[in-house]
Symmetry: C2
Subunit: 234 residues, 2 copies
């Protein structure tokens, strides 16, 4: 984790080593503990030395995000655009799950990094090669949104939110206040026969939403939908 903290004869620093150490530090200790000073220390180097390879912290984060996005496997190909999109997105998701801090950092970038541009370009190409018009492709990309990159904001996480102050009674109070949420959290399965116990499978939810979007796009495409005339759907 700490790379050769002995003085002298450290490997010469370069941008790639700085970025890789940043990724490793964020992976291990969380993005909130990534500071220029801490990263320098991790590399056995004086803080100022980093500024030789990276202009400032913001561009360090750009580079780290790029490093992660570049890991997405874009090699999927074939005649079925839906399958190709699906495989790339699921590859993106696997990458982003390995670097939990990355979605937050990607979102906070002001502009897209080169790897993001490359990813978007290849994804647009898949829709176009599948016969989508430029117009529909444009809307499709927006519809996919952050799901394209393998993440989507989860607004709540339905694992037990029992804090330190009281478990059962706090949960009961919440159930009384927000009965619909409690109903969902209670199992999401007491009106189906067999799915009891599966409280929330993130992967399933992700693919459910992904397929909902892909199926909807497929229907629009088959129907020859364009943004002029048909309004907004149905």
């Amino acid at each position: 984790m700490a790379q050769q903290p002995e003085a002298g004869r450290r490997a010469p620093l370069n941008k790639e080593r700085v970025l890789r150490a940043g990724v490793a530090l964020a992976d291990d200790s969380g993005i909130e503990s990534l500071s220029m000073r801490r990263l320098a220390q991790e590399l056995g180097v004086v803080p100022m030395a980093l500024y030789k390879h990276v202009p400032n912290k913001e561009q360090l984060l750009d580079g780290m995000a790029d490093t992660v996005v570049a890991q997405i496997d874009l090699s999927a190909s074939g005649s079925d655009w839906k399958d190709v999109v699906r495989r790339r997105v699921l590859s993106a998701r696997r990458v982003l799950l390995r670097h939990r801090w990355a979605s937050q950092v990607i979102e906070s970038r002001t502009g897209p990094t080169p790897a993001v541009l490359e990813y978007l370009d290849s994804m647009i190409g898949t829709f176009r090669d599948g016969g989508f018009s430029v117009d529909l492709t444009h809307h499709a990309m927006h519809a996919m949104g952050s799901r394209l990159l393998g993440f989507s904001q989860e607004l709540f996480d339905d694992s037990g939110s029992a804090g330190p102050n009281g478990g059962a009674e706090a949960l009961a109070a919440m159930a009384a206040k927000y009965p619909r949420i409690a109903e969902l959290a209670a199992g999401a399965a007491h009106d189906t026969a067999s799915a009891v116990g599966r409280s929330c499978d993130d992967q399933f939810e992700f693919e459910f939403a992904l397929d909902l979007l892909l199926d909807g796009l497929e229907k629009l495409h088959q129907r020859g939908w364009t943004s002029t005339g048909s309004g907004s759907g149905a």
Copy 2:
């Protein structure tokens, strides 16, 4: 903007005034310039005074997010679940557009605030009242994702990204490198007759994706879809 900077006789501080000042400061100067010290100064108060009303900065942000989410109009009702969901989500979007910092802050919260819980609860109720099973409602909420709260990560913004160093030639270089993106950015309309010039209408894109999801959910609902058996769609 600066509230009574004259010394003496300032209105007594309370939590609500602190939160409102925080929201105003973030609206005016951006979330990155919201610091405890700066906020205190804005209120004509010593930094330590804030800690009487808010335990720390993180909970200040919780409170600010809550203040914003509480502004969403939940009064929409009727027998058409889709219309009700749509109206609430578009109200959420209007609120979030008034407070550009809010989506980022909401995402960065570790747990949902009371106003978010109330919003989610009422939205779940709308699906349930529309006849959705608990199971399908659960997946529907995940599928809507952050779009429920009126925002969705836009991974790129297709307005001209010509930086200070070179306009046209930089753009041409980008077009050569990412031809599919350039094609989309170039107008998104040269294969339709009349929509020339509308480069990207955020509101349209938002509603397009929203309706794609709502239409897909409607079809699943009509079909009596459940998560057991039918796999993941179509």
